[in-house]
Symmetry: C2
Subunit: 346 residues, 2 copies
Amino acid sequence: MPSNKSIIFKAVPDGYPVAGEHMELVTKEIDIENFSLADGDILVKNHYMSLDPYMRGKMRHSYVKSYTPAYEIGQVLDGYGIAIVVKSNNKKYQVGDYFVGLIGWEEYSHITANVVSAEALAKEIFTKFKVPESHFIGLLGIPGMSAYVGLNKIGQPKKGETIFISAASGAVGQVVGQIAKIKGLRVIGSASDDSKIKYLEEELKFDGAFNYKTCNADEKLKELCPNGIDIYFDNVGGETLDIVINHLNNFARVVACGMISQYNTKDHYGVKNLIQIIGKRVLIQGFIVSDHFQEMESFRNEMVEWFKQGKLKYKEDIVEGIQNAPQALINILTGKKFGKMIVKIC
Amino acid sequence: MPSNKSIIFKAVPDGYPVAGEHMELVTKEIDIENFSLADGDILVKNHYMSLDPYMRGKMRHSYVKSYTPAYEIGQVLDGYGIAIVVKSNNKKYQVGDYFVGLIGWEEYSHITANVVSAEALAKEIFTKFKVPESHFIGLLGIPGMSAYVGLNKIGQPKKGETIFISAASGAVGQVVGQIAKIKGLRVIGSASDDSKIKYLEEELKFDGAFNYKTCNADEKLKELCPNGIDIYFDNVGGETLDIVINHLNNFARVVACGMISQYNTKDHYGVKNLIQIIGKRVLIQGFIVSDHFQEMESFRNEMVEWFKQGKLKYKEDIVEGIQNAPQALINILTGKKFGKMIVKIC
């Protein structure tokens, strides 16, 4: 019988999670032939899984409310992935079909009927759009759509404006920057490593980028955004947000997409410059991409068109083997990855 | 010759301004008969002047940029007021007409042609709307319009929602609360004194109010907003904003109208709970009422209608004599006033 390695949620971390301590590898076997499926269920073999910062937010005690349910102690962690159906009790799915949606951090997942039917991502997308499989959990998945929705709906980009993007080479940031370039904006980004800066400037043609770990962000923003910032696409929160507020123009928009600098600490950074948002008439808006899933198709159509025209690239950081997923998630949280983090499961 | 007492801006304060030290009384005489007016100018005798928190923001060094110009050292302070024309070189104004607009902190003001023509507030309003003269710099002036614009445009109030208002008995807050009641919201407010709380609950029929100086705001908000807060009309910023974020509902709106708690300190409070605005999809929007002056007439028409129907009250704190204006401004900044602060000049 094939093995089914999985990662279970073992304990709630206080700060950064630790592999083994908060996430644990468990190996079992799976009897596919005799696996029991209720009406509408499917059994899938997982190909790729997306790892994302929001997962840290789910590693909390269940009594703490948030927009996503907490992971339950002892249960297999979950996330978005791409899988192949190996057994089906659902008329819409045949063995060999693709499934894109919520899977476990494991080699085989039992997808129950309610999850199957809730996923907006249908198997037909692979034949309709001809792009690499893994892009459906990155460029054309939740990170890409977060970029698209956040920039367009909240950022309201106008040609000639300046946008600054933090975590600019990350899963979301790199897409934001490229769409902003397509729309004629001046695009400036920050990242945690010189190789990422080179990528932003040379490959993605950003107008400027800096390594926030080795540069003074305030001085760099003054230098690279001489006309101020009209849109801040915030993936990090904290001190960076505070500094950026100093450089915002009147009527600037702050797209509050993520605050990764604050996910692993209880001692949250206090943002002191908020007083400026009145005089500058700044808009700060938080959003969750799942509120906009009804626009998935129009998002995909536009993105695929740009992709085929060579206007969009997508850097992926692919880790092989489900056993390496815990450390890969930690690497996202500490900035030790480059591009969209994906686990290749098989 | 009549005297013309005025208050000049003497020095930039670090913290709270001090009468005499940062604002100084100067008494001169004025020769009305021989007063020279260029084409389009008028000379007015000031009746009422509005004192507002934003004036603290103008008491800065001129090299510090902001949305309003800094007061110049040695010049007469200015603000919105109501005056009577005593001499005119402007065809639109006759002696005895009302002028409503930018005047000096003084008994007589020389209004130059550019200021006369820039004022959207025309002399006809007194005959058109029959409300007390002083209301044109309060309920129907900038504070009232700030309440109206901020609540309607940013707050987007819906019947049955809960609004929380800080500085709720102030020039803006009391209007916000009453409009929100008209629109069917649950209205909760905070203020700095038990007499103000009594006024909010008994006179303005707020659904609840608390003295933030003697109560625990977090506990009071839990008690008075059991279904959370949908709109926060923020007049104070700082720690109150931080606490309120904990109680915001999904899709809540924060109307950033003022942050009076931060005006008199360089050691700004650090807001730590911003991370919640993503999961809750909160909108925070700063605004300046002068961006919306084109809607002054529709604002006045709707407000006067409510006023005549007895649905709007307006509490004024009237101080007599221009020599008392400096202390009156300080009293606004320290919360030692009750209602809209107005100086009756003559």
